[in-house]
Amino acid sequence: MCVGHQPSAGDMKGGGQVNGMIIDTHAHTQDGIGMLSNYVPVGRMVEIMDEYGVKEAWVSPATAMQRDFIESNRRQYEDIRAYPGRFINFYTANPNYPELVENDIRRSIEDRGFKGIKMHPWETGFPIDVPASRRIVELAVEYDVPVLYHDGTPPWSETLQVAAMADYYPEAKIIIGHSGLFDAYRSAIRACNTHDNIWLQICGPCVGDAAEIIRQARKDRLLFGSDFATSETANLMDERLKVLEMACPDEKLRRQILCENPRELISQS
């Protein structure tokens, strides 16, 4: 018996046979401090996307997680206008400024065509289950756009705390941004399989854990994300696409994760 076969990383650019149809549902423009300190101009980002066959990226501004969220979201809108069809705008929300953020979300969705909301409770510094944070989800329900949460980082970005939003708001489309990372991915699987309104991003778990997520979670709820701009970006895109390829050798399913599921989700918005 030979147990524990290790899938081959190969020499391919990530994504293998599905190049050209990849939708990266978790990426960032701009920069901040710490893990967010890798600034990549949008033009360079497009070059890297082209190199790896990424057709479209759902982007939220990293700077807004930590400061100047109104200006940061506006700047992203301006920056990506030069690349029509390549990006979907997600609004990075800071619930610590309830009135400001609500007004700006409305403006961004109604006037600028933002199609989703991103929250990073750890980086931004708020508990998920407080009225100001839940108000953001209510706005997402009102506009019928998905909410993407960072998760996997206790105490303020714990995976089941994110899933609780799906309980409170069955009409909301909740995206669990890292599928539990290294320690809570089985909780993410359980949450996904017991809710109709939770999506899991393969964006962070290692190959073995990602394979388990892909085997056990609802197939129509899986998305791919690179977390572009939180590490040296070409390396990260390469790494994350290879993880998915090794975790999901089934090309048809990989295409579903990389293209069909995100297309279906965003088309509802």
Binding site: Q6, G34, P154
Partner: protein, 247 residues
């Protein structure tokens, strides 16, 4: 250049499953000369003796291929001390802890008697890190400072969300080493730059493929001397300092 993988799982656990044949096959395919074998899951938590015996058998059969790090759950008290002592007497090369599974905080004094065994036998102690609240890098730093003459390995060096704590952990803790598995390339390259003599390549295979983890480390833009250390020389020196070289 000798390539040593400092974290490879051996055993059929509830989730992790890997036998000797798979490990040897992976090593040949990936150009890995030696591995540090660690027990998995129930062998880390409950069946320590059975897991350790599995390691001893593997190391006896392949003395030029494997090192073995023994498990002992500190909640077993005196029995754990005997378990670890027996494992070192049988020739195993270090101790292996996953405190988040075993149910103690790394800096809790409950583990002190086992670290005393490591000191007595001059063996290093490997700790999984980055699972809050019981397996954090700074907890390991406190333990390492309490036992300055024992060498400690920070498994996964904080991947991902506790990489911010690497520097504070390494500060004034010269007996602490960083193992690379599961980390971002960016973090791996940074620690190789900042702590070239104290970074150790590890894969955590089969949780992450050995080839993939090795590839990340090999892409580091460091000189050949540094890479020789990271890929094998540093752990080898650590083992030699621990009087546990060879079988």
């Amino acid at each position: 250049m000798q390539v040593i993988d400092a974290h490879v799982n051996l055993g059929i656990g509830r989730y992790k499953k890997q036998d000797i044949a798979a490990i040897l096959s992976g090593m040949e395919e990936n150009g890995v000369d030696r591995c540090v074998l660690c027990p998995v899951e129930e062998y880390v938590t409950v069946y320590n003796r059975e897991g350790n015996e599995m390691l001893v058998k593997a190391c006896c059969e392949y003395p030029d291929k494997f090192y073995g790090f023994a498990a002992a759950n500190p909640w077993y008290g005196e029995r754990a001390v005997k378990l670890l002592t027996d494992a070192f007497e049988a020739g195993l090369h270090g101790a292996f802890f996953v405190s988040s599974l075993q149910g103690f905080s790394i800096d809790d004094h409950i583990v002190d008697p086992l670290i005393e065994v490591c000191r007595r036998y001059s063996r290093p102690a490997y700790f999984h890190t980055a699972t809050p609240a019981f397996a954090l890098p700074l907890q390991l730093a406190y333990l390492a400072r309490r036992f300055p003459d024992v060498n400690f390995i920070m498994g996964h060096c904080g991947a991902n969300d506790f990489v911010y704590d690497i520097d504070a952990s390494m500060y004034k803790t010269p007996n602490l080493y960083l193992e690379t598995s599961l980390n971002y390339c960016e973090t791996i390259y940074r620690v190789i730059r900042d702590y070239p003599d104290r970074v150790i390549f590890g894969s955590d295979a089969p949780r992450s493929p050995q080839k993939f983890e090795l590839g990340k480390v090999q892409k580091a833009d460091a000189g050949p001397d540094v890479m020789e250390g990271v890929l094998g020389g540093n752990i080898l020196q650590l083992m030699e300092r621990s009087s546990a070289s060879g079988w």
